[in-house]
């Protein structure tokens, strides 16, 4: 699936949940599917600091495509990270670098992407793109 196909699939999935709480239950659920970062990478080098929760993210280049593994100390953040990883993992650096992540807005999570948010999601998206740019060079 392309990045956009995955995004569209997620938009469809989320359309299912009309209630905020259900949506978050689903996000928490997704967090459990996150391919976890190896403990040896849970270091300063791979940390992305949000105001309140921390995220570790590791990009693994495999046959021209990047697979991300990650973790967070907060479950909801982990769910949000999981969404991003789902969408971007398994693609070429070029695809990742140029991806327009419209699904975040569409599934009603735009608020989490404001630069002043406590979860560091925006920094994470930026970091994923930076990795992609670096790895495509």
């Amino acid at each position: 699936m392309t990045i956009n196909e995955k995004q569209d699939e997620l938009i469809e999935d989320f359309a299912f949940y009309t209630d905020w709480m259900e949506k978050y239950e689903y996000i928490i659920q997704l967090g459990k599917e996150l391919p976890l970062i190896h403990d040896s990478y849970k270091t300063e080098e791979y940390i992305i600091k949000g105001c309140q929760s921390r995220v570790w993210l590791y990009p693994n280049m495999n046959e021209g495509k990047i697979d991300f593994t990650a973790d967070s100390d907060a479950i909801i953040t982990k769910g949000l990270v999981s969404l991003m990883v789902k969408v971007l993992s398994g693609h070429t650096p070029k695809e990742i670098a140029s991806a327009d992540l419209y699904f975040i807005d569409k599934i009603g999570l735009k608020e989490h992407l404001s630069p002043t948010r406590a979860n560091g999601l925006l920094s994470m998206v930026k970091q994923m793109k930076l990795y992609a740019i670096a790895l495509s060079a």
């Binding site: 978050y24 928490i28 309140q52 929760s53």
Partner: protein, 419 residues
């Protein structure tokens, strides 16, 4: 028996009429995420009653003008109103003189003024400043910056596992070189009410002046700076039902007179030539530039509001609510209270073991409940407890047992989802 009734009668006299109070705060009628707002983030900032909002509107619709320099009517009435606030603040904290009341931007600026001006005048290399382990960043960083600049040192009053200051150790921290003591009246992270009168007296035995951070005190308990005999006192308008962008620095006349001014500009001068400038008298010496006139004026309305309810009545209402909240919260699965001091004000910090405060905060928010999560600008406190942060519910006079019930239900729901 008769006596008892009379006492009860008189203490009953001023009881918070909670419906009336709630109807004074327009924002409490709003919904958040489709749920009625339950606002429990009062430690960060309180909501404003319409008496304060109306004063602001009135200011801009009928009075607005720059203060202290104008001959014309609007300038005169604005100046008078601004000075009324100074008088009301004086009475509110029972300062001896009006000119001991400096109108600032907030607690942070008030503390920075002392660090900068008292620091420049009286603190040098190898001198020592005592602060406590439970301070807000605003009462840590200015002193660290001063120490970096001057080569002075911080000594820290330790805190017990319950969140009380260790007064015995405090007594041992003084030396010949101690120049200032600065600590908080009430901890914003834990709610601890410190034994400030005793602690001030101890500092005075060593002839060291004390700055008290009153940011979390003035909205909850009656403060009398003369009775406390405190040398400097700082607080913010926005945490006491007043507007944002205004606060107070109280200082004993003698200290303020002997300190250099803080910012240079209009109003704080007597005479300016390009060669030499003489400074104005107190309080203007410390009030450079156009002040926050609107907020300065409306702060009087916040004080009036508190006075009309009565700080004793407010305290009784909040203490009852605090006791109820602790009782009900104790029933929540895996809850762990952070900060269980003997004397506590309207702050409850806690964790649900096995969850991250951020997760709790997000879920409560979706239920319309506003709490604060994180380190509450008191990272050293979190470090001591070995945690990244807490969930903090902080109460104000308009909160109710129903608010607590909604919080408890929300926490149970969050725990179900997260654990």
């Amino acid at each position: 028996m008769l006596t008892l009734y009379i006492i009860m009668g008189s203490t009953e006299l001023k009881k918070i009429d909670i419906n009336k109070v709630r109807s004074d705060f327009p924002i409490l009628k709003r919904e958040v995420n489709g749920k009625p707002l339950v606002y429990l983030d009062n430690g960060a900032t309180t909501q404003k009653p319409k008496q304060v909002i109306d004063a602001i509107i009135h200011y801009y619709e009928e009075m607005n003008s720059n203060v202290h320099r104008g001959v014309h009517y609007l300038s005169q009435i604005s100046t008078d109103a601004f000075e009324v606030t100074r008088r009301k603040v004086k009475e509110f904290i029972n300062a001896e003189h009006e000119h001991e009341v400096i109108i600032t931007k907030g607690t942070t600026e008030s503390i920075n003024i002392i660090a900068s001006c008292y620091g420049r005048a009286f603190i040098g290399k190898d001198d020592e400043i005592i602060i406590s382990a439970m301070e807000h960043h605003s009462n840590i960083v200015p002193w660290q910056m001063l120490c970096d600049e001057k080569g002075c040192k911080l000594r820290i009053i330790p805190m017990t596992a319950e969140g009380d200051l260790d007064v015995e150790t405090y007594k041992t921290l003084f030396s010949e070189r101690t120049k200032l003591v600065s600590f908080t009246y009430v901890s914003n992270a834990l709610g601890t009410i410190n034994p400030v009168k005793e602690m001030i007296a101890i500092a005075h035995q060593h002839e060291v002046p004390v700055l008290l951070d009153g940011a979390q005190a003035v909205q909850h308990l009656k403060v009398d700076v003369q009775e406390l005999n405190v040398d400097f006192f700082a607080f913010s308008g926005h945490k006491m039902y007043g507007p944002t962008g205004v606060g107070v620095l109280y200082g004993k006349e003698n200290f303020l007179n002997n300190m250099p001014p803080y910012q240079g500009g209009g109003d704080m001068i007597k005479e300016v030539t390009l060669e030499k400038t003489t400074y104005n008298e107190l309080p203007f010496k410390f009030e450079a530039g156009t002040p926050n006139i609107e907020a300065g004026i409306a702060l009087a309305n916040a004080i009036d509001y508190i006075n009309e309810l009565g700080l004793e009545a407010i305290k009784r209402h909040e203490d009852e609510l605090l006791a109820y909240a602790i009782q009900e919260l104790s029933k929540v699965k895996s809850i762990r209270f952070i900060g269980t001091a003997k004397e506590k004000s309207s702050v409850i910090s806690f964790l649900i073991d096995g969850t991250h405060p951020y997760d709790i905060g997000v879920i409560l928010d979706k239920l319309g409940i506003a709490v604060r999560t994180g380190h509450h600008c008191a990272q050293p406190v979190m470090d001591q407890f070995g945690i990244p942060g807490t969930v903090r519910a902080s109460l104000a006079v308009y909160n109710t047992k129903e608010d607590v019930d909604v919080l408890v239900a929300g926490l149970n729901r969050a725990a179900d989802m997260l654990l």
